[in-house]
Symmetry: C3
């Protein structure tokens, strides 16, 4: 059976990812649940087009991905479901799914799954989206039965810059190297040396690495780019080629 995949900006130290998983079980979902990532940068909905499709590769056929990134929780903003590449994507209608929608995928309205009598208004992931996901996964519901959500919110691609720092202190950037995208990161001393893996340069060297997400990463060999660059990419610039 395909998995339920959860991603959010909740933070791994919070109880909210675990509560989402427990809610899925309470909804009767007995298959796999993948806690993919809960450190999505706060409020960075604009990173959706760059990160979301890349984080889920490879994605098992039939998966349901629930992705929750603010702002908008609790308000009247819609929750939408979108079919893409054999999977169903559920997210707030705030632009997070722009890349998918931009490819022409239709957007469906999940208002029917909104809990009528829910007392709290701040945890749609647990109380709303996961219930819909369980219904899709178990076949109790189908996108074909839902109304369209016209004019979904779209956001534009983010400028070249930082997507997130990983735990090694590597800067995962918004700049793709896959698919023939051409460009390079530059410091005051010139174009950063581009490598395929760290063993190609000596320890301490600042490099641009072809990262595993298909994005350029700025890294220090056997060190921390985050420390080296004092937590910003301000001293670097990106030049298209």
């Amino acid at each position: 059976m395909p998995p339920l995949v959860l991603a959010s900006d909740f933070g791994i130290v919070s109880p909210y990812p675990g509560q989402m998983e427990l809610a899925a079980r309470a909804c009767g979902w007995a298959g796999d649940i993948v806690q993919l990532w809960h450190e999505w940068p706060s409020f960075r909905v604009d990173l959706g087009p760059v990160l979301l499709p890349r984080l889920v590769r490879p994605l098992p056929l039939g998966s349901v991905v629930v992705a929750v990134v603010d702002p908008g929780v609790g308000s009247d903003r819609r929750v939408v479901a979108v079919p893409w590449q054999g999977a169903t994507w559920i997210a707030p209608d705030n632009g997070l799914l722009s890349a998918i929608l931009g490819e022409g995928a239709p957007s469906y309205d999940l208002e029917d799954y909104r809990p009528v009598a829910s007392s709290a208004h701040t945890f749609h992931g647990r109380d709303w989206m996961v219930a819909a996901a369980a219904d899709f996964l178990t076949g109790r519901a189908s996108l074909a039965d839902l109304p369209f959500a016209p004019n979904p919110t779209m956001c534009s691609l983010p400028p070249p810059g930082l997507a997130f720092w990983d735990a090694f202190g590597n800067a995962v950037t918004t700049c793709p190297w896959e698919g023939g995208a051409a460009g390079a990161w530059w410091s005051a001393e010139g174009c950063l040396t581009q490598v395929e893996h760290f063993s190609q340069q000596p320890p301490g060297r600042l490099v641009a690495v072809r990262g595993s997400l298909g994005l350029w990463e700025v890294a220090v060999v056997e060190g921390s780019a985050r420390q080296h660059l004092d937590g910003t990419l301000d001293l670097l610039c990106w030049k298209d080629q």
Copy 2:
């Protein structure tokens, strides 16, 4: 099949939650395991009555919840099992289950599950409680077969204050808003504006939010109350109404 639910103060960076899960598999538990939360505030057994029942809503029928919060590990203190709302709760006998016991649930003694020849005395969650949980979940054991644990340890409700900071920097407090509980958080400038969701106030505003756990949260709209309040609630007070 209902899940095994794990909660503790072990910290998510430690290997102990993973070791509990592996031990459950080694005990033959093949069903679901939910790693609910491992950032319970250290030694705050008194938060049990406020947090524990709220973290597990909704709780699948037949679940077994193993909750481990110190102090007392390794000493002669008992480990108890308590039935409540269709689930079985396993915890050290240090007051963590006070809310449940206060509703009249009987407490059972898990001494029979204590490993006789165990060499280490500091990881009852892995070596003791999980083994009992696996037996309850698989039907190899039943509370009805166990001796009562008379006079379980009880602790009183915590005073109004901080339960924990979540990853957004929201202060989850010990003060309920659910169930008709009445009261409010005040600053020097008056009663904190109460909201149901963040979109009701402009960014930067300090507010009291009806949180998803049924507890008041003190938050800054699109900001961090933890930073705003310098990591304490000292400048705020709670007034019953």
Copy 3:
């Protein structure tokens, strides 16, 4: 069914543990996955002999353990599989499995599982090791069908010192107390009091605890040794007995 067990130095805040799990699902592994620990100290391959076998006790029969600790990723270094105690261990050939290999277990070469056309070279755990693990777990492959990997990399045991700080601030050390190993941690004031559990000494006391991994831990009762010792063990020394 036995579980797939994942351990690494990726850091729990990174998306990489979740991506490994998703890749295992995409490879068709429908059984249990245990996210054991992803805070292995960076580059400390030498801790493999001390930590790896201890972290997985108890280990279900037939488990496959995938352990990824750098350096070496992306380069020409091999990935090996080693049978030990009824389980299969998969790791880079950089010494991480020294304890197991030192007991005479044969080492097999996983070159056949190397993705030929993979574009990124920096995430062997997701793109290489997990695919092999899924094949072993499902019976699609067997170690008996693979070529030997002669002369596997070995590393020597680490000196007495810190293995890692856990979330309580306890120093888990590299010094075993199990199996009759004899020795003690000393401060300027003499031999640290040795305890089996924390309740044996008053709060604030610096002690040596028989830890749950079978290693001596340096701890402060109801406090943080990490704070007490300012993040190092420099003021302590280990004496064999």
